[in-house]
């Protein structure tokens, strides 16, 4: 019986094995750091896995001894006081041994860590002519992306071509933010008055329809939790087409569809145009997101799929998707407002899209 009592503690061990199973059950979403699409991200992952496996070995060894000891040497709580074990005070050999052991493990980790840190710094200096340069500016609580060499400004959705090096000059317009695309590479902070740079090269073949997930990773109050963005990795052709669209003469054109024209009017009347620039149409305030070619965007406010319903919800009450943000609610519940919202949605969705027939736009 005593033996079984001793073993009662051992029951904890199989229960603990349940925890690693969590890892297996966890599906990898768009925020995963395990399925990365850049070489720099893979280097970071490899280093992580090195520390992980070393840590796992340490944990298994320590716990094996730990549980063995407390099971083997356990006595009952009211064990005879006079039964005194050998009073060992220490053992110099053991002390030296288990000081050297962690030293070795630390060396195994320090060397690749220092090497990779230095390597990444060295590589960041190596730039080429055909790099894509993006000036990223963080605002409370959205992202501005400017392509100085291409003369393009956009917000919350970043386009980069696969296989080319993308360099991001990170600046903040107000408080700290942090630029993080988990499937590309580790994050870097945006700090007012400090020029931080991050770069990565999306793998050939990493272009896909679903844009990659990005997030602000430094507390910036208010809607920080909803300060998300997307990274659309394009093939060379897709990227060229997008650039052409953002620069082209099509920016001057708006469909003659009456709903869209009504939307354009409402966009001005309700004051949207006071903040949100649409190149070729409205000059807003550079402190607020640029909506040029909005119809090509895949998401609303960096958060939800860009469907007419979602965009209408966003315009109707910006606090639903993005609680805490600065965009005002423009509606008082008066007659005809729903129609105005629908018209603005139609107008925004027409931007950058081919001019479709009147019938198909009709809702």
């Amino acid at each position: 019986m005593k033996f079984f009592k001793r073993l009662s503690l051992a029951r904890i061990i199989p229960a603990l094995l349940l925890f690693p199973l969590l890892a297996g059950c966890t599906e990898m979403g768009p925020g995963t750091t395990f399925d990365v699409k850049t070489s720099i991200g893979r280097q970071q992952l490899d280093l992580f896995m090195l520390t992980f496996w070393l840590g796992l070995v340490v944990i298994i060894l320590v716990f094996a001894v730990f549980f063995f000891v407390i099971i083997r040497y356990r006595v009952s709580d009211d064990h005879d006081k006079s039964d005194i074990p050998a009073q060992t005070h220490g053992h110099t050999g053991l002390e030296i041994g288990w000081t050297i052991l962690p030293i070795i493990l630390v060396i195994i980790m320090v060397v690749p860590t220092v090497r990779l840190t230095m390597l990444q710094e060295a590589e960041s200096a190596r730039t080429a002519d055909n790099d894509i340069v993006v000036n990223v500016t963080g605002y409370q609580w959205w992202w501005k992306f400017e392509y100085p060499e291409l003369g393009i400004t956009t917000a919350n959705e970043l386009h980069i071509p696969e296989g080319k090096r993308a360099t991001f000059n990170l600046q903040s317009a107000d408080v700290l933010h942090s630029f993080w695309v988990p499937q590309m590479a580790g994050k870097k902070d945006l700090i007012p008055g400090q020029d931080n740079v991050l770069w990565f090269i999306p793998d050939e073949g990493s272009a896909k329809d679903e844009p990659y997930y990005g997030h602000c990773a430094e507390l910036c109050l208010g809607a920080h939790a909803y300060m998300r963005f997307r990274v659309k990795v394009d093939t060379a052709e897709e990227f060229d087409a997008w650039v052409a669209g953002m620069q082209g003469a099509s920016l001057q054109k708006v469909s003659a569809d009456p709903l869209i024209q009504k939307g354009k009017l409402a966009y001005v009347q309700k004051g949207c145009a006071g903040c949100h620039t649409v190149q070729g149409q409205h000059v807003g305030n550079p402190r607020y997101p640029d909506l040029t070619n909005y119809g090509q965007r895949s998401i609303v406010a960096g958060l939800e799929p860009n469907t007419p319903e979602n965009l209408a919800t966003w315009i109707r009450d910006p606090q639903i998707y993005k609680p805490g943000n600065y965009m005002p609610t423009l509606w008082s519940g008066a007659e005809g407002e729903e129609e105005q919202i629908d018209a603005i949605v139609a107008y925004l969705h027409s931007l950058g899209m081919p001019d479709v027939s009147q019938a198909s736009v009709q809702r």
């Binding site: 970071q44 006595v75 060992t88 700290l176």
Partner: protein, 639 residues
């Protein structure tokens, strides 16, 4: 029990006589004016538990909001206030005062002293802490709590982005808490250096006392950095200076450096007391001496020392440059060496012992288990390039809760179950204690283990919600369920502890078969601590007094010290107990008025407050020691 209340002959009770010197030993006044390290220790611990519950409620609100994605149970603003106050409360108002409770109650008992070196200063520390805690939490009712995170990164804290008083409450509250910690730090350094019992050399001190000493050095060397940072922030907010204002050329990043120069040693301020407690509990319940005592002590000191050389590992993603990142990654990893050595020595202590699974022992073993997990994930962060993916995610949240709850809190609970019978003279129910342990253990692990995966799958921390696409909803639901289990465990703890304080089984001495000299004292501890100051010849003195046959087998050179014989000066009155005093409380109250004057820009209040402090200071200085004499009951082991 013969207590003589004759006035001390050669110290007439003259005071700078604003108040009659309080003498009551019961009631509110006796607590407000107490200078007894044991009572102050109790005040600290009870305050710590109180704020631990408050911080826990804040944590439950946070977890509830995060149960699944897309919830809006509390607003983002309130959420930010919740996690800011949760962090600040747990660090400064829960773990630190709970540790301070142990420092106060135990240090004099473990080194064989009647009190700390400066008892009134000790009282001043507590009341300053108390008013600091009040200031910080008053913000909830006076316009909203601070919401900038416990690290309060600039420029979020500037008047532009944080108008209103919330950040000022945070600044002033923390300044008072810092002052309290600093003064306590000086006090305990003097106490430990100068008030050890005859024969107790530094390397015969219990490990807990050693860790206390290391922590106090960390406090006095680390807190100045945050004090200056807070002063500079206050000047920015109140007087428009440019320390952290980018428009004047100030660098927000400099705040981070100052903050973490304090912040990282602070982490060791939180964990080292628990390590000290575990180093006392394991030997007692293994019936063996601590394995490798000098190594454990030196590892602790080394961890403290190296804590000053690793602060920038909190800033790997701020663009410090490769050299700084590599250097701080390397220094951080080296901390794994002394930490690992400590864990090995604890296991060495258990090896070959007679292990009794009492409640304190369970908590101590739980500490080793979870601290090892937290330690390993800590080393994983230190690889700077990999940390770029981990920093500011739930992976980090999981890591530091493993070391702060699984480490600090479990260690402190272990110490509570171990030493609290000294205070109450009653035992706690082993059955309920074990239920508390297992509930907390599983609750804790279910809460925080899934967070590792949530973080690595992209869930950022300090966020009001998260995206459903990340696929971490169920991990968060699991964590929330776990947090409620953990809370139930803490709830059972509170209820059964209160019950057992009132009618637990009475015990009069040495219930655990303890090893160190505090267990020579009859329970509950008498006001004068020791009948007679013990003379120490061994580590684990009490153990060798009980088992003299074991005394000579080890520890060479023990005899040398035993001849150092100091006769305590005993006059016919008995043991002298210094008098209680109003002035520490009054001075703290004066500071409180200064702080509120500062908060509400009332020069008058500031002046009145400083006058109170000034007058209190002189009245205190000229008050004299006062006090009374008391005859010991005579129940000591050494009688």
């Amino acid at each position: 029990m013969a207590i003589s209340r004759k006035p001390v002959s050669q110290a007439p009770d003259f005071s700078g006589g604003l108040f009659k010197r309080p003498t009551s030993s019961r009631g509110l006044v006796s607590w407000l004016t107490t200078i007894d390290h044991k009572r102050i220790g109790i005040l600290y611990f009870v305050s710590g538990i109180f704020f631990f519950l408050i911080g826990g409620i804040e944590a439950l609100i946070i977890r509830t909001q995060l149960t699944t994605s897309g919830l809006n149970i509390i607003s983002p603003d309130l959420y930010n206030q919740m996690f800011t106050m949760h962090g600040t409360t747990m660090i400064f108002l829960a773990v630190m005062p709970m540790s301070a409770g142990f420092f106060n109650y135990l240090t004099p008992l473990m080194i064989g002293a009647r009190d700390v070196a400066f008892p009134r200063l000790n009282s001043f520390s507590y009341w300053t802490f108390f008013f600091g805690a009040v200031t910080l939490n008053a913000s909830w009712f006076l316009g909203g709590a601070p919401d900038v995170g416990w690290f309060a990164y600039s420029p979020l804290t500037s008047t532009t982005y944080s108008p209103g008083l919330a950040v000022d409450f945070w600044i002033f509250g923390l300044q008072m808490l810092g002052l309290a910690s600093l003064l306590a730090g000086f006090n305990f350094i003097v106490t430990i250096i100068n008030m050890r019992a005859p024969g107790m050399t530094m390397f015969k001190m219990p490990v807990f006392v050693w860790m206390t000493l290391v922590v106090q050095f960390l406090v006095i060397l680390a807190f100045p950095a945050i004090t200056i940072a807070l002063v500079e922030l206050m000047m920015d907010r109140q007087f428009g200076t440019g320390f952290f204002n980018p428009e004047m050329g100030g660098m927000p990043i400099f705040w981070q450096h100052l903050f973490w120069v304090f912040g990282h040693p602070e982490v060791y301020i939180l964990i080292l007391p628990a390590m000290g407690i575990v180093s006392e509990v394991l030997p007692t319940f293994s019936r063996k001496p601590l394995f490798g005592y000098p190594v454990v002590v030196m590892s602790g000191a080394l961890i403290g020392l190296m804590g000053f050389a690793v602060w920038s590992h909190h800033m790997f993603t701020t663009g410090m440059g490769a050299v700084a990142n590599a250097a701080f990654a390397a220094t951080t990893m080296t901390i794994a060496i002394p930490t690992g050595v400590k864990i090995f020595n604890w296991i060495g202590t258990l090896w070959g012992g007679k292990i009794r699974m009492t409640t304190p022992m369970l908590f101590a073993l739980g500490f080793i288990f979870m601290f090892t997990v937290g330690g390993v994930s800590g080393v994983m962060h230190s690889a700077a390039p990999a940390d770029a993916q981990q920093s500011d995610t739930y992976f980090v949240v999981a890591h530091f809760h493993y070391v702060l709850i699984g480490g600090s809190i479990f260690g402190l609970f272990s110490g509570f179950y171990y030493w609290a019978p000294m205070v109450t003279g009653r035992m706690f129910s082993e059955k309920w204690g074990k239920i508390v342990f297992w509930t907390m253990f599983w609750g804790f692990n279910i809460t925080f283990f899934p967070m590792h995966f949530a973080g690595l799958n992209g869930q950022a921390r300090r966020t009001h919600s998260y995206s459903a696409e990340l696929g971490v909803d169920w991990l968060n639901t699991l964590a929330t369920i776990g947090s409620y289990i953990l809370a139930i465990g803490v709830g059972i703890f509170v209820v059964h502890v209160i019950r057992d304080i009132i009618n637990g089984q009475k015990v009069d001495k040495d219930p655990w078969d303890g090893r160190t000299i505090e267990w020579t004292i009859p329970l509950p501890t008498p006001v004068y601590n020791f009948d007679k100051i013990p003379t120490v010849t061994h580590r684990d003195q009490h153990w060798f007094d009980k088992h003299p046959e074991l005394a000579h087998s080890h520890e060479h050179g023990a005899d040398a010290a035993s001849h150092e014989h100091v006769e305590e000066h005993h006059d016919e009155h008995g043991i002298h107990l210094p008098g209680q005093s109003w002035y520490p409380f009054i001075m703290s109250f004066g500071l409180f008025i200064v702080v509120f004057g500062g908060l509400y820009s009332s020069l008058l209040m500031v002046i009145i407050g400083f006058l109170i402090v000034f007058v209190g200071c002189y009245a205190w200085a000229f008050e004299g020691i006062g006090g009374r004499h008391i005859q010991p009951k005579g129940q000591s082991w050494y009688q």
